[in-house]
């Protein structure tokens, strides 16, 4: 059988199973919602804060994943995503293994595609895992109850669960852009730590721009804003505008980053290792 992108993809997933950083990221994706629910449980006044769905945290467990998405966008999910995306090419430089795999029977483009898909798969798995843990832990804590939307209407628990998972899928749009930025920095810096921290810094920089006075006009076009696109689903009727905007704004950042990473990877000299 001739090797191809699927071969690289399968082996990248296998390699991820043997690396500590994979479990560090997935561990955080599981631990953070549990810690969050424990914090709600042990909070003396059992009241939430002043943010979307905060008042529902003690009334419906389905509010927990939504609040997690809200705060996870600041650094948690970009960091979990960057742990693998920022490392996936840089670790080959660290181990000196690019020369080993470049001299087999796969084109560089195939190797790039397989690795990029594996990094994206890990990010999807981490987000969905975290969301699921939040649903389960939240439901144990506050019950599997109906949820009030941002428009003030109340939706049944099964409908709310559906909205949570569709919201998580929408959340994956900006996450995909973080993956692309991580891949670019991983390819350019050839240093895992620099790429992981750099990806997080880029993510934080977007948030900083959003709060700077005089730059509020840029807010709809910032990557950080797109992490809130899922909130359009929690309105009645559903507001698709932020979702559509998230798609093209994220493509505007993600596609050039991915293309640049691809070209750098294709053309680079493997002089070390």
């Amino acid at each position: 059988m001739n090797p191809g992108v699927a071969t690289v993809y399968r082996w990248e997933l296998t390699k991820l199973r043997y690396q500590k950083r994979t479990y560090l990221g997935l561990g955080a994706a599981i631990a953070v919602p549990i810690i969050f629910v424990l914090a709600i449980h042990f909070r003396p006044d059992r009241q939430g804060g002043d943010f979307a769905f905060s008042s529902y945290l003690t009334r419906s467990g389905l509010a927990v994943p939504l609040v997690l998405m809200l705060f996870g966008a600041v650094w948690l999910f970009p960091l979990i995503t960057a742990l693998v995306a920022g490392d996936i090419f840089a670790s080959e430089d660290h181990n000196g293994t690019l020369k080993t795999i470049f001299t087999r029977s796969l084109e560089r483009g195939q190797i790039f595609a397989g690795k990029a898909l594996a990094a994206a798969t890990y990010a999807v798995a981490a987000i969905l895992l975290s969301g699921t843990v939040a649903v389960v832990a939240g439901s144990i804590q506050s019950g599997f109850n109906s949820l009030q939307t941002l428009s003030g209407t109340v939706v049944s628990a099964p409908k709310a669960l559906e909205l949570v998972y569709v919201g998580l899928l929408v959340y994956l749009i900006p996450i995909a852009t973080v993956v692309a930025i991580g891949l670019l920095l991983s390819t350019i810096t050839r240093n895992s730590a620099a790429a992981v921290v750099g990806t997080l810094m880029v993510s934080l920089l977007f948030q900083l721009i959003g709060i700077l006075p005089g730059l509020s006009g840029t807010t709809p076009y910032l990557l950080s804003t797109q992490f809130n696109a899922w909130q359009g689903l929690l309105r009645e009727p559903v507001d698709w505008a932020p979702v559509v905007r998230a798609a093209w704004v994220c493509a505007m950042y993600g596609v050039p980053a991915l293309a640049a990473a691809f070209l750098v990877f294709l053309r680079r000299d493997v002089a070390g290792g």
């Binding site: 293994t97 020369k99 795999i101 087999r104 796969l106």
Partner: protein, 326 residues
């Protein structure tokens, strides 16, 4: 070796290969040809550009100028040019968190076809079967070198490119590596072996390319290099003063020097026979006349040290690259 193998494009054909990094010229116009069945020693001091050349041959870095053809194919355009080619540059590298066998499984998957079926045989060949289930992170340097050979064998190569395969090995490991290379060559594999270990090259290679400051200063058969350099003889007679004059006047006798009560010179066998007769006729009777073996190391130093590649000494008569390579 089949006739087809001899008739086809050579396994390695490098022409005018140059690699510059800014102002630094790492490889300055290398021309070399490795023919089918050769065990070719690519010799040069550290920093001469051997590894950079090998990286370009494997398509890992782009040449600034020049071309590389492996069996007539360009490794810069597609990895398919590496079909039938395997090897490693510098130390072979693997994923330290995977076992030796798992690393080979990954590489076999990347090779495709039936490479996976060759894993056990390859591990057996390099005597790593017992340690195949250990993580590579715990392997010694020698074990990684051997795993590198095993990884190369998965591809059933017709051409093996090895960069300093014995570097860092203990004497036993070096001997085993030499035996392994000789065995593979005996099975019909063409081998290009970069090294700065003269003993290694002299023992296993039939042809050499000697690189100095990024340029080939000699390419050809080791035997030809030695014979063209001429054999050095030491002579002692009953009248060394007269013998010295005879030597200097005798055709075919070169580099005549009086050396600690003895005379040394370089010459071919027929010239030495004629010299013997001339000495007797001149009344300088021979006490001893013995050839001194010129080693590849002597020739290597002569070609790679000093201001000019064809510096004085044994290599003075060595063919220059343009002559030797053709």
């Amino acid at each position: 070796m089949t006739a087809a193998a001899l008739d086809g494009p050579p396994p390695v054909e490098v022409r005018g290969l140059v690699k510059r990094y800014g102002d630094l010229t790492a490889v300055g116009g290398v021309d070399l040809t490795v023919n089918a069945g050769d065990v070719y020693g690519y010799l040069g001091p550290n920093g001469a550009g051997k590894t950079t050349s090998l990286r370009m041959m494997l398509g890992l870095i782009r040449p600034t100028e020049g071309s590389v053809r492996l069996f007539g194919r360009d490794p810069q355009t597609t990895v398919r040019a590496l079909a039938g080619v395997a090897g490693f540059v510098e130390a072979p590298t693997f994923y330290p968190y995977l076992t030796g066998r798992r690393n080979l499984e990954l590489l076999a998957a990347f090779d495709g076809n039936d490479a996976r079926r060759r894993i056990d045989t390859a591990l057996d060949t390099v005597e790593l079967t017992d340690r195949a289930s250990d993580r590579v992170g715990g392997y010694s340097h020698g074990m990684r070198q051997r795993l590198g050979i095993a990884a190369a064998l998965l591809r059933e190569p017709k051409l093996l490119l090895l960069d300093e395969p014995a570097t860092g090995l203990d004497p036993g490991g070096m001997r085993d590596m030499r035996l392994l290379i000789r065995r593979l060559a005996g099975e019909g594999m063409t081998v290009l072996l970069s090294s700065h270990l003269m003993t290694e090259v002299e023992e296993v290679c039939n042809r050499v390319g000697i690189v100095r400051s990024g340029k080939i200063v000699y390419e050809g058969a080791i035997a030809e290099l030695k014979s063209s350099a001429g054999t050095t003889y030491r002579l002692s007679t009953t009248d060394d003063e007269r013998a010295l004059a005879v030597c200097r006047a005798q055709p075919g006798i070169e580099n005549v020097q009086a050396d600690g009560g003895r005379i040394s010179f370089t010459a071919g066998e027929s010239a030495v026979a004629e010299l013997s007769q001339a000495l007797v006729e001149a009344g300088a009777l021979i006490r001893s006349l013995a050839p001194q073996t010129v080693t590849l190391e002597d020739l290597f130093f002569s070609l790679t040290e000093g201001d000019h590649p064809s510096r004085a000494g044994a290599a003075a008569a060595a063919p220059q690259p343009a002559e030797a390579a053709r």
